[in-house]
């Protein structure tokens, strides 16, 4: 854990500082009103005149007490505050997307495996391949045209309606939910395809196992074989896969939030990258990686909890 965290900070820092060019607050060479002394002063104010390892050390020391520094942007606010106000939207969308993936992909995968080579299975395989290949933002655009602009069923951008403040509490929840439907679906589409495919092949693997053959020979009904005996074992690897899908979801939030104009961490990252706001970019990268790390940890722990072979094996 700790060396991993250390490595993460090193990559985040290195990536930022080895690239040529400087943040836009400093890059004013072409501005006649800014003298070279001013630029020097700005550079020393932000600590950019010091050698890289010194800058890294300073950043790391502050990071250890959860101080991510100040943003380079005009408001100069603390990086952590800026991230904190944007992160709930991103987390909500990704958590909902993950729940959607679990709720849809697992039944689809199981049904495909049980009815292998049926029309349902073939149709789902086609859906999976298309889901893998479709550029998510393109699908998002098509949905925006179809459901948003032409049919006017769903709002196409933002989190709230203009009349948000006049609404009652339940109306507000309903409004927010409507705004989240398309973003959540678009975030989920890739994972949906991948997970149902994975579930299908996992289920097929388990069905071929010896204990299933034994159960069948003993006359257990097909229903019980599939849903009581096979399903549990086939579900185990899904836990790991969910953990592995976190970086993809977080990375994808840049595109989804940009597409639907949602004020989340992805959008903040995009803005900070364009304005070369070093502390903010590094802060978000580190937090993204730490979220992934935590996700994997939770996945590992729940795997150990869910798998009796590991759960009981450790006690002896």
């Amino acid at each position: 854990m700790i060396p991993l965290l250390f490595g993460i900070t090193m990559i985040s820092f290195g990536m930022m500082h080895l690239a040529p060019g400087e943040p836009s607050v400093v890059g004013q060479e072409f501005n006649p009103k800014v003298s070279s002394q001013d630029i020097e002063r700005l550079r020393s104010y932000y600590g950019l005149d010091q050698p890289l390892y010194v800058q890294y050390w300073h950043w790391l020391k502050k990071l250890a007490v959860l101080d991510f520094g100040q943003s380079f942007s005009a408001d100069g606010r603390a990086v952590l505050d800026k991230i904190a106000e944007r992160i709930p939207v991103t987390l909500w969308i990704n958590v909902l997307a993950m729940l959607l993936i679990i709720a849809i992909a697992i039944p689809i995968g199981v049904a495909s495996a049980v009815r292998r080579d049926s029309w349902f299975d073939k149709g789902m395989t086609l859906f999976v391949f298309v889901g893998f290949a479709i550029p998510s933002f393109w699908l998002g655009l098509l949905l925006m045209i179809g459901l948003g602009v032409n049919l006017n069923w769903l709002p196409i951008s933002g989190l709230h309606d203009y009349s948000w403040h006049q609404m009652g509490f339940w109306q507000q929840q309903q409004d927010m939910l409507k705004h989240l439907i398309m973003p959540v679906f678009i975030s989920a589409i890739g994972g949906l395809a991948g997970m149902s495919r994975f579930m299908r092949s996992g289920m097929l693997d388990v069905i071929r196992a010896d204990y299933i053959t034994t159960a069948r020979a003993m006359g257990v009904s097909e229903r019980d074989i599939h849903y009581r005996l096979a399903l549990k074992n086939a579900l185990l690897p899904i836990i790991t896969l969910l953990g592995l899908s976190i970086p993809g979801l977080i990375g994808g939030s840049v595109i989804v939030e940009q597409l639907f104009s949602l004020p989340g961490m992805g959008q903040l990252f995009y803005e900070s990258v364009l304005s070369r706001d070093y502390p903010l970019v590094m802060g978000i990268t580190v937090i993204g990686a730490v979220l992934t790390l935590l996700g994997n940890l939770v996945a590992d722990l729940s795997y150990a909890w869910a798998d009796p072979r590991i759960r009981h094996g450790n006690r002896s």
Binding site: M15, L142, G248, I250, I255, R276, I284, N296
Partner: protein, 273 residues
């Protein structure tokens, strides 16, 4: 050959799509009815017609011609990026798998570390800082997608390194580099090829995502992604600008994925049934 194709229809379907797209890209200068960068203000944003099969864009350029030339750019990004990621992944994975022990532990920890990052964040940040030229895009996509290959090659080499023919060659004093190149690599070629083909599909998708954010291949060079970006800005008045390039990306990526899946089945007899 025909027998293989009959047994693995995915290879046939995917292979045909891949081959036709590659052919269209190669022959673009001869097929394209117009110059892809030719601006003609008299036909701005024309819907598809007999003169312009896929309509025209905001500068009156022929979308069909731009898509043909865009295919070259998108595929070039895909292939070079995969070439880079294969090279890095092969070297790291081979060294880790062959030597094992401490080197292996060190390299795999490093791989795990890079896997923790939302890759798209890394790509975005580096591209934005380096200027989004086509070469930078290829390099950055390549350098952020080698982890899967490294793990794969390592696992293959580890499982091969205990086999008799490897021990025999080692006892004859074959040098490590020759050992890996001549004896181990050919035996691991199947899965590597599959992951390279799937990698091309992934890289094409990433480039289109970057273009969507305005950080992909820059105009006037056409790429499917940046035609689509144009489409996004004119979505309410010119559907053809978003629909056609999107279909092109979808079809191409689908083709590579199908080919990859087909080859995976072919190389892995365990999955055959």
């Amino acid at each position: 050959m025909i027998g293989i194709l009959r047994q693995h229809p995915l290879i046939l379907v995917g292979g045909s799509i891949v081959a036709s797209v590659a052919l269209l890209a190669l022959l673009a200068p001869w097929i394209a009815p117009y110059d892809p960068t030719d601006i003609d203000v008299s036909v701005i944003l024309m819907p598809p017609s007999w003169q312009h099969w896929c309509g025209t864009d905001t500068l009156g350029r022929d979308v069909f011609s731009r898509m043909l030339f865009g295919a070259r750019v998108s595929l070039a990004v895909g292939f070079v990026a995969v070439g880079i990621s294969m090279l890095v992944g092969l070297v790291l994975g081979a060294v880790a798998g062959y030597f094992g022990g401490r080197i292996d532990a060190l390299l795999m920890r490093a791989t795990d570390m890079v896997l923790c990052f939302p890759t798209f964040f890394l790509i975005l940040a580096v591209i934005a800082f380096l200027e989004p030229s086509i070469w930078n895009i290829m390099i950055v996509i390549g350098l952020t997608s080698w982890m899967g290959v490294a793990r794969l090659v390592r696992a293959e080499f580890l499982s091969l390194s205990g086999r008799e023919f490897v021990l025999a060659a080692q006892s004859l004093g074959v040098a490590p580099v020759r050992m890996m190149w001549r004896y181990l690599l050919p035996n691991a070629m199947g899965p590597i090829l599959v992951s390279a083909i799937l990698g091309v599909a992934g890289a094409v998708l990433v480039e289109s995502g970057l273009s969507f954010l305005g950080l992909g291949v820059q105009p006037p060079n056409p790429s499917w992604g940046n035609i689509l970006t144009d489409g996004k800005d004119n979505i309410q008045i010119a559907w053809w600008l978003s629909v056609y390039p999107g279909m092109a990306i979808l079809t191409t990526v689908l083709g590579y994925n199908l080919l990859g899946e087909g080859l995976r089945d072919y190389f892995d007899p365990k999955l055959r049934s």
